[in-house]
Symmetry: C2
Subunit: 99 residues, 2 copies
DNA sequence: CGGCATCCGCTAAGATACTG
DNA sequence: CAGTATCTTAGCGGATGCCG
């Protein structure tokens, strides 16, 4: 539980994982799939996911360079969790404005 | 989904909801159930939950004062989400140290 | 008992510019 | 293409002290 909270800190983390659940993505593909994310942020999150064994990074030494990010089995097991979040979010009858 | 992310920002938010899933709690009861949380943080999270309709706050004008926090039906529907998180967290075979 | 006020550190994230 | 570097902002959370 604590691990989950640390790993998926910040609004972008879960969105990135969600995107990767659709299959492996290149850096640019992720940027396109996640409007408004900065390369800085994207890199930062991906590096953490890598360090925690959620994602594997594969660099192909080509010209131009190509890098692929793919979920590990551990990362893929996050699917149900994100689905539960999504279910909850879309079940809200009357969005309460707050703050 | 976005709503979920905003609401449950920070490591304490989910833990507080989790505690309230066990039933209504007084302020002090929450503090005891959540070791190390500061009153500042607890108040801050509870106020946000209130503003977003996740929690209702009931103050009893007694001496000494008593305040009860109770999940709304919306808040209670978070149960499955937190369960999914917990399931994932406890399913980790070999915790990877990182960062 | 149940807070609020204030200050402060840490980190997620944005903006911008540049590189192998 | 896939980043890195630097600077800045904003919000969570801890610490301390006071109050009705």
């Amino acid at each position: 539980m604590a691990r989950f909270l640390v790993l998926l800190e910040g609004p972008w983390a879960t969105l990135i994982v969600r995107e990767l659940l659709h299959g492996p993505h290149r850096f640019t593909e992720l940027r396109e799939a996640l409007p408004r994310i900065s390369p800085h942020t994207l890199t930062s999150r991906l590096r953490r996911f890598e360090a925690h064994g959620l994602v594997v990074r594969t660099a192909y030494p080509e010209i131009p360079p190509r890098v692929e990010y793919r979920l590990t089995p551990l990362g893929e097991r996050l699917g149900p969790v994100l689905q539960a979040m999504s279910d909850w979010a879309t079940s809200i009858p009357d969005p309460v404005r707050g703050r």
